[in-house]
């Protein structure tokens, strides 16, 4: 019940076209090891060729139809910065940008991402210069174990793109789909607020 409430507080990001398709295809959820269901033949299905642009680099990958974007990023491309926390669209650890929108990479079928542009945590720093969000997360102590951090930062980047000066209540609502077990979120909220200020300053600097 409360879980549902949390879901809708998430700015509707999980209802996107790709995530819906992934849900129906039943690929986001791995087969259960506890309550056993019959195996699916999907892993023996023929592979497809897809192209992806990830952090500006072009890739051609061959994937089976049941593989998710998260599988491809982590296992085929070696981009392990994107984390797998649940594989079920419930924790936000796998948040990436897909054609400019945030998605849970664990819910996107890789073949549905064919031809897309993807940004992951590895693509956020420019020429060795940390993104203001990365810097703020570091400086404000918003990172403990750090497993939620990449997803948090990408979600926050999307949030700030939509709303460059969010109130802390808006930050809290906008980040409600990303779970963190360590920090209690206070420093994450503060870091996002600080990065928003920095980014506003940068825009002004560029404009003048």
């Amino acid at each position: 019940m409360s879980g549902e409430a949390r879901r809708s507080a998430d700015g509707g990001r999980r209802t996107g076209r790709k995530t819906g398709a992934a849900r129906r295809a039943g690929s986001g959820r791995r087969p259960s090891t506890v309550d056993r269901r019959p195996p699916t033949p999907a892993d023996r299905a023929p592979a497809w060729q897809i192209t992806l642009s990830v952090n500006g680099d072009p890739y051609r990958v061959s994937v089976r139809p049941n593989r998710t974007l998260l599988d491809v990023l982590r296992e085929e491309l070696g981009l392990t910065g994107t984390k797998r926390g649940c594989d079920q669209g419930e924790c936000g650890a796998c948040t990436v940008h897909l054609d400019g929108r945030t998605v849970n990479a664990c819910l996107v079928l890789a073949i549905d991402a064919d031809g897309s542009e993807v940004t992951t945590i590895e693509g956020l720093a420019r020429r060795g210069e940390l993104h203001p969000l990365q810097r703020a997360f570091v400086e404000e102590g918003a990172i403990q174990c750090g497993y939620c951090t990449p997803g948090m930062i990408l979600q926050a980047a999307a949030l700030l793109r939509q709303n460059p000066s969010p109130t802390s209540a808006q930050i809290r609502t906008g980040m409600a789909g990303n779970l963190c077990r360590c920090t209690g979120y206070a420093k994450i909220v503060k870091a996002i607020g600080k990065a928003a200020e920095v980014m506003k300053g940068q825009r002004k600097g560029r404009a003048s």
Partner: protein, 771 residues
């Protein structure tokens, strides 16, 4: 103490940059060439005899390298009492029991092979309620425990508590029940095992106890400890869940041994919910009395713990549960008994706070109720009974520094204790007492550090002390940098390899900053001693006249004269009969392993705190909204303000979840809410905006620069403080966690009846025969 350049400031964690850029390598990110993927087949029954296992179809599946069952391997047992078989052969005792394990070339193939294994079970009667499990006719879970009692007793008596309570002016008694809570580490469990051709095992693991794990694995696998190397990658959360060595870790090693290939096991989130250990539910019966002036007279407590099917280290939680019950306030007469009961529920383990959150939920609500009965303000009542510095408690704890009164005062003042409240608003407060100078729950409480200073003035700390996200590495680096006058950027910590780093007993009991911090100081002070003569010679002064800061040695009487530390090191290296700058320390704190009567100064110092909270309870829905949360902590000394705040903030969030929403729903031994959708861990929007944290620096003489341990403290009093605020807002008291809207509403509807019922639950005095 003032004048520190680094200690007491706000410093980002050493690993924050790697974590913010995705460069940090966690267990799930590590793979090896030729690696196979392991999967575990688990019992669907909470209690059953295994009649037959047929693995032929699984073995025939392409890609499958190895299928293991109990009759195919020789493997030792795990757990605190060694009652836990790694693979279950004759019978299963809970639904997560490991029946078979498969290694295959892909996760999907391993998964599919597990599904092809046929296991014939004969279901047995099962028992899920510890009280029922204690009945003579209950099903027997372990052959050698006919009464289903874990054969390890916890009893403590000091004075005559029953008589003291009988002679009290006011007495409160009640029964409190706490729930299954699970750690929800964001990174699911993993294990990666590889044998080299000579038979030496390298286990990559997120364990909290790498050196104990060596011996656990050596015993389970029947190999010598020297042939076990443990590597720890970046760890994605632990909170006590990795204090045990788990069957899946041994299974990864067995699969690797039998397949001749490295094997990695990754848990799914569902497995994490079902198969990771939980905070043990407790039934706590407690009575506390006070005299007319509001001075505590005595306390009797009996606790029954749901141990689940096997005994992990979590079964020793009564030791730490008792510290709060016996020693938060001055008490002359205490009697305590805890019984761990086997059930067919998933087994419980260690979790941040280690029994103290459960105990404090009971005793701090009783303090509140007793204050009301005595007609004394609850804050004043607590201050009247608060421990004093330099006192000894009934268990023989030597309280040295103690700022409990200041904590209570600060928390109450800041929450607006006496300010007017709107309708349905209430305020509540709760104190806490916890180990703050290590906790000797093993025979050792030690940590080793080797420090080495190179000829570019880079300092490396080699230590077994594990970093699980708390920032302990950073605290150690800060202490070392302060002591040697180096910039923080000159210090790195290597603590991920049992082959390289010296021994540590593990990360638990909020011990690492205190213990590893003291070990760090010991090691770098040795370097300092070696360095000073070189500096004095270079500066042409006595050693006493040398100061180290900003990367150089300075002449105190002539600030114009200085020499870079790196130059001093090079001077010592590049000469005949040179010297190297290495220091070492094995710090074992002056605390004691408790005797069988639960006496002994278990920690070198103790931490105190008070949490105060203002809530609004919706009388229509029962929903509790936290309007303001104030935490005041006696932390001895701030080392890294940023890390310290983070520890308290994170613990408060877990404590609020424990109080209000989190509950693993286990019905008939099966977990009914094995996902984040159904297990309500709090998100950013759920948590209160207005959280204040205050630090009281009591400057502990035993702590590194005066610091005490703190990482668990923020969770411990939270549920009780919220319970007390709910009582203030609604007039009803809840005796059960979590205090969900449904239960708050039911309590409001039942009105005072609830309070009466719970008093009735305690039939007769809480005496020794009362269970």
């Amino acid at each position: 103490m003032s004048g520190h350049r680094i200690v007491g400031t706000k410093v980002p964690k050493l690993d924050a940059w790697d974590k913010a850029t995705g460069a940090a390598r966690y267990g799930h990110d590590v793979s090896l060439p030729g690696m196979l993927h392991g999967k575990i087949l688990r019992s669907p029954h909470p209690h059953a005899r295994i009649k037959r296992i047929d693995v032929r179809r699984a073995e025939a599946l392409p890609g499958v390298h190895c299928v293991l069952t109990a009759d195919r391997v020789r493997v030792g047992k795990l757990g605190f009492l060694g009652d836990h078989p790694v693979l279950k052969g004759d019978k299963v005792r809970c639904v997560r029991d490991e029946v078979a394990a498969v290694a295959a070339t892909s996760e999907a193939a391993a998964e599919e092979a597990c599904a092809l294994i046929r296991v014939e079970y004969e279901p047995l009667p099962a028992v899920f309620d510890p009280l029922e499990a204690m009945q003579p006719e209950a099903p027997r879970i372990h052959e050698n425990a006919p009464d289903n009692l874990v054969p390890h007793r916890y009893e403590f008596r000091h004075g005559d508590a029953e008589r003291a309570i009988a002679g009290s002016a006011h007495v409160v008694q009640g029964t409190y029940r706490t729930q299954f809570m699970t750690h929800c580490c964001l990174e699911p469990c993993f294990a990666l095992a590889a044998f080299d051709p000579a038979g030496r095992l390298t286990m990559t693991s997120s364990t909290q106890v790498p050196y104990l794990m060596q011996s656990h694995l050596s015993r389970a696998l029947g190999i010598h400890g020297k042939d076990v190397r443990v590597l720890q990658p970046t760890i994605g959360g632990a909170f006590g869940s990795k204090l045990d060595t788990h069957p899946y870790e041994v299974l990864a090693a067995l699969l690797a041994r039998h397949s001749g290939r490295p094997v990695r096991i990754l848990y799914t989130r569902e497995e994490e919910f079902v198969c990771a250990p939980t905070r043990q539910p407790m039934i706590i019966r407690m009575a506390t009395g006070c005299d007319r002036e509001g001075r505590l007279t005595g306390r009797v407590c009996e606790a029954i713990l749901d141990n689940g099917a096997y005994t992990s280290w979590g079964a020793t939680t009564p030791h730490i549960m008792l510290v709060g019950i016996s020693s938060l306030y001055k008490l002359e007469h205490v009697s305590f008994r805890a019984t761990c009961v086997y059930t067919n529920n998933p087994w419980s383990g260690a979790f941040r706070g280690y029994g103290n959150p459960q105990g404090t939920f009971a005793n701090e609500q009783q303090m509140d109720e007793l204050a009301r009965k005595a007609g004394i303000d609850p804050v004043e009542f607590r201050i009247r009974n608060a421990n004093d510095p330099n006192s000894t408690t009934p268990q023989g704890f030597r309280v040295t520094t103690c700022a409990l009164k200041e904590c209570l005062d600060t928390a109450a003042t800041r929450v607006g204790w006496r300010e007017p409240k709107r309708p349905n608003e209430g305020v509540g407060i709760a104190g806490m007492f916890h180990v703050g100078g290590g906790g000797r729950v093993y025979k050792s409480d030690a940590c080793g550090v080797i420090a080495k200073l190179d000829d570019f003035a880079h300092l490396t700390l080699l230590t077994g002390a594990t970093e699980i996200g708390t920032g302990s590495d950073t605290a150690m680096a800060m202490l070392a940098a302060e002591e040697l006058g180096l910039p923080l950027g000159n210090v790195s910590v290597i603590n991920n390899d049992t082959d390289a780093a010296p021994w540590d007993v593990g990360i638990h009991a909020s011990r690492t900053t205190f213990i590893a911090g003291n070990a760090t100081l010991g090691a770098v002070r040795e370097i300092r001693r070696k360095l000073l003569p070189w500096a004095a010679k270079e500066l042409g002064c006595s050693e006493d006249a040398v100061e180290l800061h900003d990367g150089s040695a300075w002449r105190r009487d002539d600030p114009a004269r200085s020499a870079p530390i790196e130059k001093l090191v090079r001077t010592a290296h590049f000469r005949e009969q040179g010297e190297m700058f290495v220091g070492q320390c094995f710090y074992d704190p002056p605390n004691q392993f408790q005797d069988p009567k639960m006496r002994g100064n278990v920690s070198a110092t103790y931490s105190f705190a008070a949490h105060a909270v203002r809530v609004r309870v919706d009388p229509e829905t029962g929903k509790v909204k936290i309007l303001k949360f104030v935490a005041a902590h006696d932390i001895g000394k701030v080392i890294n303000r940023l890390g310290l705040e983070g520890q308290i903030e994170g613990a408060i969030a877990q404590g609020i979840g424990y109080a209000l929403t989190e509950q693993l729903r286990i019905d008939g031994g099966r977990v009914g809410n094995a996902s984040f959708l159904d297990y309500k861990m709090l998100n950013a929007a759920d948590l209160p905006e207005d959280v204040e944290i205050h630090f009281i620096e009591s400057a502990d003489p035993a702590g590194p620069y005066g610091a005490k341990g703190v990482s668990e403290a923020g969770l411990i009093p939270t549920a009780a403080a919220i319970g007390n605020a709910i009582r203030d807002a609604t007039g009803v008291r809840l005796h059960r966690l979590p205090m969900s809207p449904e239960s708050v509403l039911a309590a409001i509807r039942a009105g005072e009846q609830e309070a009466l019922d719970s008093e009735l639950e305690v039939t007769g005095p809480l005496t020794r025969s009362g269970t």
